[in-house]
């Protein structure tokens, strides 16, 4: 039985630690603090935790005002609300003036589950990547979350970090050198590369293990930072393995696959396939059920790898 660890708890804990280390860290929430786990910070630093109610646009603008006065605001809510209804605020109040606001959103993707399409975030990476000055990170497990949140706090500039709702398998057993914009080569391989992040990373590793039994040697890259993309890692993958599959819990349009494809086409075109949600909204269901239904599985990744390898 694979051990699963909560990413959201990791966020809540790390935020609290950061709050103890730096009095300029402030936190905003939109009536979801028990879900986003900013309650931990709120309990110890109530004067630095601002409950904004179900008013996400105002939350982002307020975070911008705090950042303009030297605070380091972490603004949290569900990913769909953090990006869809706040897009103009992210654009005008945060990205355009390049303010040091961290938007850390939970409930990314469709693994949100039973709440259904209104609460799934399948566009958030496309939206945030479209904002100049934004750094966009998708974390895969609890350890990566701790590292990424710390890196986000250190980084100066607009930052979006996406977390999942469900607990996820452990990928990183110890802390490691997380660097924004630097992909991690989790598995060596020479026949193809899977570029993945977030919840799809563990599925990418499963696919690679399965493919190995078929004699296909697959590199796996954890592309936690979608923007700025680690273009060098992508180019090396294209040059050294000759075929790339991307895997993300997001729409095909505008997400990790799109961003990787731009680099591949520009520098070294190789066969590519994309495991992503195909231009549709999902529905209510259990997380695993939805991931299966919408093709976000290790089998889908393995099939895609076989396809690109055959096209080399």
């Amino acid at each position: 039985m694979t051990e699963l660890v909560s990413i959201r708890d990791a966020y809540g804990r790390t935020l609290l630690e950061l709050g103890r280390e730096n009095e300029n860290i402030v936190v905003l929430d939109a009536d979801l603090s028990s879900s986003t786990k900013t309650t931990l910070f709120a309990a110890e630093f109530p004067e630095r935790h601002f409950q904004m109610g179900i008013a996400e646009a105002n939350m982002i603008g307020t975070a911008a005002g705090l950042a303009s006065c030297g605070k380091i605001p972490f603004a949290s809510t569900f990913a769909v609300f953090a990006t869809c209804r706040t897009f103009d605020q992210l654009r005008m109040s945060v990205a355009y003036p390049n303010l040091n606001v961290k938007v850390v959103a939970t409930h990314g993707g469709i693994s949100v589950g039973e709440d259904g399409a209104s609460h799934h975030a399948i566009e958030d990476i496309a939206l945030t990547c479209a904002l100049p000055n934004f750094t966009v990170i998708v974390v895969a497990d609890a350890t990566e979350t701790e590292q990424a949140i710390r890196a986000a706090a250190e980084h100066r500039g607009p930052t979006y970090v996406r977390l999942t709702r469900p607990s996820v398998p452990i990928i990183y057993r110890e802390s490691y050198d997380f660097v924004i914009g630097k992909a991690i080569r989790l598995r060596e391989g020479k026949d193809a590369t899977i570029v993945a992040n977030g919840l799809m990373l563990s599925r990418a590793l499963e696919a690679a293990r399965l493919l190995a039994t078929e004699g296909i040697s697959t590199r796996v890259l954890d592309m936690h930072t979608v923007k700025p993309l680690d273009g060098q890692a992508v180019q090396e993958a294209a040059a050294e393995t000759g075929a790339i599959v991307t895997a993300e819990e997001h729409l095909l349009h505008g997400g990790l696959g799109s961003v990787v494809a731009q680099t591949v086409v520009e520098h070294r075109a190789v066969p590519m396939r994309f495991v992503a949600i195909r231009d549709q909204y999902a529905r209510s269901g259990k997380p695993e059920e939805l991931l299966e239904l919408y093709g976000l599985t290790s089998q889908a990744i393995a099939t895609a790898v076989r396809q690109v390898v055959s096209e080399k």
């Binding site: 109610g53 105002n58 975070a63 005002g65 303009s68 005008m92 355009y96």
Partner: protein
């Protein structure tokens, strides 16, 4: 920081300066929003030349009062006030909206000293002002945050989110000023999307509400002074104004919301606003439209 306190008539003179600059710079740029800039000139003059604690030689002074131009299209009045205050040379005003100018069509906070927030997409400034006030409270600083809103802008829901939050957090260091010039692009506000009863609405949101004649300097100063004495809640001054105030042909003339005066209109407008005395001090000759 200005050491001397300007008299009411000196402030009125400053407001005339701002009006001159607004007419000149928008005409020269060939575009811009003179109407909604002119309606705010007296308010902005009162703030920058008498009421606000700020230092043009130290734009990052942590204890400064902040001014957020939430109605960002009125950038000309802000730029004029900053120039007259000494944040940058007045001559730069001739470059409004030019490609390589720091005087962008709507204010950008990193391009020009003294601009506190990047605005232009309406409805966002009050949220930003609230954030600034919260930061000040956390840091134990006493600065005030003034935010100028347009009345058409109140159509935006985010304004009301921010209004709720300001009252919830007892932000008595936030003073909002509403430039109630009664017009927006598609016509009178009450025809487009009725706002009244406005004072009642703000009171219902937990704000201390003042109303004033937005072109009477004494009344403006009194309202600002009263707002500074309000404790435990944010305050709003509903300033009744006229769009285009200062040039008779621009008065309440919707055409000048987002259209610049042409050369002949510029000359006419400047002629109405200018006095001999101010022209000697200012010295900026606006070339007018190309």
């Amino acid at each position: 920081m200005t050491e001397e306190t300007l008299s009411v008539s000196e402030l009125q003179g400053k407001a005339r300066c701002l009006r001159c600059h607004i007419i000149g710079m928008t005409a020269t740029a060939g575009s811009g929003h003179p109407g909604g800039s002119l309606s705010a000139a007296d308010i902005v003059a009162a703030l920058y030349f008498r009421v606000m604690r700020h230092d043009p030689h130290n734009p990052q002074w942590q204890d400064r009062d902040r001014f957020v131009l939430s109605k960002g299209h009125a950038a000309p009045v802000l730029y004029a006030a900053l120039a007259e205050s000494g944040y940058f040379p007045r001559e730069l005003l001739c470059s409004l909206r030019c490609c390589d100018s720091p005087l962008q069509g709507h204010p950008e906070m990193h391009l020009l000293p003294g601009v506190e927030a990047s605005t232009g997409s309406l409805g966002q400034g009050l949220s930003i002002a609230n954030g600034m006030a919260l930061a000040g409270r956390l840091d134990g600083r006493d600065y005030r945050v003034y935010v100028l809103l347009g009345d058409g802008e109140l159509d935006e829901g985010q304004v009301w989110e921010a209004a709720m939050a300001a009252a919830h957090y007892d932000l008595d260091h936030v003073t909002a000023i509403l430039d109630r010039n009664r017009q927006q692009i598609d016509g009178w506000t009450e025809d487009v999307m009725s706002l009244e009863p406005l004072a009642d609405k703000w009171r219902a949101f937990g704000w201390y509400v003042l109303e004033t004649n937005g072109h009477n300097m004494e009344a403006i100063l009194e309202a600002l002074a009263t707002s500074r004495r309000v404790k435990g809640q944010p305050s709003i001054i509903i300033a009744h104004t006229t769009k285009g105030k200062g040039a008779s042909f621009m008065d309440d003339n919707l055409r000048f919301h987002g259209n610049a005066p042409d050369r002949e209109e510029m000359a006419r407008g400047l002629g109405e606003v200018r006095t001999e005395e101010r022209c000697k001090v200012c010295g900026v000759e606006y070339p007018g439209p190309c």
